[in-house]
């Protein structure tokens, strides 16, 4: 997958609004593989909706979203399973970890269907992000900041053309944010992948090829 194209897309609940001033809604946007994008928005502008549309969770929008030349509204559940295993990864704002599983189990449950990362790589990321001692702790007993780092490691346990980051550092301090950025960038470069990050204020401290306001 090389391009994600949004043509005249707007969430259904915004369809009647006249006052929308957005680089994305009701406009034409192309995300290109290998480039980095920051989508900035105030709360309530549909930032998480955009991620849900791109990740195939929700379909309550007007307009068309294309992956290369394919309209994603035509994809079935099996298509999405394949895309989510090998083309598109996401770090959810709400993380969606399994609280009763340990940090390592949460990562393995993804890696065991994609068989992408070696045990060593995963251990190294745990170390680098300062949560090595929490590997066998149930996620329910971890802080939001720690959970966010586990969710990132899980998001990297698959090949991807685009990585969606929905407020990736909302719970992290600057130092951990920078470590996270380094890991994300090196993995994205290795795969030649594009990055689409959203933010309502603080954002990953890096050079973006394009900044869009929602």
């Amino acid at each position: 997958m090389k391009y994600i194209t949004l043509n005249d897309v707007v969430p259904e609940i915004f369809a009647q609004r006249e006052d929308l001033r957005s680089d994305i809604w009701h406009s034409s946007t192309v995300f290109e593989k290998g480039r980095t994008y920051l989508v900035e928005a105030a709360s309530g502008q549909g930032k998480s909706s955009l991620c849900s549309y791109l990740y195939g969770q929700r379909g309550d929008y007007r307009g068309t979203i294309l992956f290369d030349d394919d309209d994603i509204s035509r994809f079935g559940t099996e298509d999405w399973s394949r895309i989510r295993r090998s083309h598109l990864s996401i770090l959810f704002q709400e993380m969606r970890l399994f609280p009763e599983l340990t940090a390592m189990e949460n990562v393995r449950i993804k890696n065991q269907i994609t068989r992408t990362q070696s045990r060593e790589t995963i251990e190294r990321w745990f170390d680098a992000l300062g949560i090595a001692d929490k590997r066998n702790t149930p996620v329910a007993k971890m802080s939001y900041g720690q959970q966010q780092r586990v969710a990132l490691i899980r998001a990297l346990c698959q090949p991807f053309d685009f990585l969606l980051l929905d407020e990736p550092i909302s719970h992290l301090d600057e130092r951990n944010g920078d470590i996270m950025r380094d890991i994300i960038l090196s993995e994205a470069r290795r795969l030649g992948a594009g990055i689409i990050a959203t933010s309502i204020g603080r954002h990953l401290n890096m050079e973006y090829d394009k900044v869009l306001s929602l």
Binding site: R58, G59, I90, F98, K110
Partner: protein
């Protein structure tokens, strides 16, 4: 799979699954026992004896006292009467019984004691008898006569005569494997033969020998009486045809049809077994209903986890697998236990009724096991369908 299971087994209610397990076990056992009992008992009642099909009736005339005292055979069928029956639309073909016109004396040695009796033979055309041609052939050189004996006679011997006289009881198998001495006499001759039982019949109340033997022996030992036909075997297209009874009543003929009582008992048996199987089926259906509700509840409680797994790239099929494997395993265990129970129950009731019904069908429980496998496969298919459909709904884009 281990991790998925660790995740998805949460909220599984052992109580509900145990409830399903016991209820469905009871249901399946009742269904399978009903089928097995039916299979075991039905053949002894329906009078199918393999030697002669159900599509035959045996017609005779009632004996009129006056005529018989005067030495006249009133029960004889004339050529015209036979032709008239053959011309009826219900009759496919008509065959005459041929009776022996010579003396028959049989002797059976059972170890130290022996049983002997005067008796008679009858024949019907060979095409009405469903025995191997080789088994049902007489060769004057071999001196061995194949015989079909009514099963009633064996029962009379075993349960009446043998017990009273201290003689050994004989199974059908034993009787088929031994031969006995037969003496034929008449027309100034007296000659020895061997008799061999070629089969047993439930429906023909006579001692049958091959037509070829009968013609040969009548020729050799008879003193020239004319052939008398007092019983007819009629092949009919449909034994339930009302016009058969109407015709026979109008003519005043008797039908020797000992299967009619049995068919009433057979009908009752079918009715009772149907009720038993229906009760079993209702219990099973309710059990499956419990399981379906339990699984729905379980899936509902685990909705968020299932959604998240699908968002991680798991296919709905893979997410459904643990639940499908769980219910399938339960059903397979239920089937295995049910088959063991049917086997044990069958052992108990066959021992009880073996003396009442001489020949319990020896079909084993293979058919019942196959029926159980089909029922279980259907239950598993239904469960899998319900689980998969629910998970597909959860997986779908909102």
């Amino acid at each position: 799979m281990k991790l998925i299971w660790k995740l998805l087994r949460r909220h599984i209610s052992v109580g509900q699954l145990a409830g399903f397990f016991i209820a469905n076990l009871v249901g399946v056992v009742i269904i399978l026992c009903g089928i097995q009992i039916y299979l075991d008992i039905e053949p002894t009642l329906s009078g199918k004896d393999g030697l002669i099909g159900n599509d035959y009736i045996i017609v005779s005339k009632p004996i009129k006292q006056l005529g018989s005292l005067m030495g006249k055979n009133t029960a004889q069928f004339s050529e015209e009467e036979i032709a008239d029956i053959a011309a009826q639309p219900f009759a496919e073909s008509v065959g005459a019984f041929k009776a022996s016109q010579y003396g028959v004396y049989a002797r059976l040695n059972t170890g130290s004691k022996s049983v002997s009796t005067d008796m008679f033979f009858e024949s019907v055309p060979d095409r009405y008898i469903d025995v191997d041609v080789e088994q049902w052939a007489f060769d004057p050189e071999s001196q061995t006569i194949p015989i079909i004996v009514p099963r009633n006679y064996l029962n009379l011997y075993n349960f009446g005569f043998a017990q009273a006289q201290g003689l050994p009881q004989l199974s059908e198998g034993i009787l088929e494997s031994i031969s006995f001495d037969i003496t034929l006499y008449g027309n100034y001759r007296r000659e020895q033969f061997k008799g061999r039982v070629a089969g047993f019949s439930n429906r023909l109340n006579t001692i049958l020998v091959p037509m070829s033997f009968m013609e040969w022996a009548n020729d050799r030992y008879a003193t020239g009486q004319a052939d008398i036909t007092s019983r007819l075997i009629v092949e009919v297209a449909n034994p339930a045809d009302e016009s058969i009874n109407a015709y026979l009543q109008q003519k005043g003929y008797d039908v020797e049809n000992n299967s009619s009582d049995n068919s009433k008992i057979g009908f009752l048996l079918k009715l009772i077994v149907s009720i038993i199987v229906a009760i079993g089926a209702i219990i099973s259906i309710l059990a499956i209903y419990i399981l379906t509700l339990s699984i729905y509840l379980l899936l509902q409680k685990n909705t968020e986890k299932l959604e998240n797994l699908v968002l991680l790239g798991y296919t709905p099929r893979r997410v459904a697998a643990p639940y499908i494997i769980l219910t399938a395993s339960l059903n397979v265990v239920i089937l295995a236990i049910s088959i063991v129970i049917v086997y044990v129950v069958r052992g108990v009731y066959t021992a009880r009724i073996a003396t009442a019904l001489a020949d319990i069908a020896d079909g084993g429980i293979a058919f019942t096991a196959v029926a159980g496998i089909i029922i279980t496969a259907a239950i598993i298919a239904f469960n899998s369908f319900v689980i998969q459909r629910k998970i597909n709904v959860i997986s779908r884009k909102k």
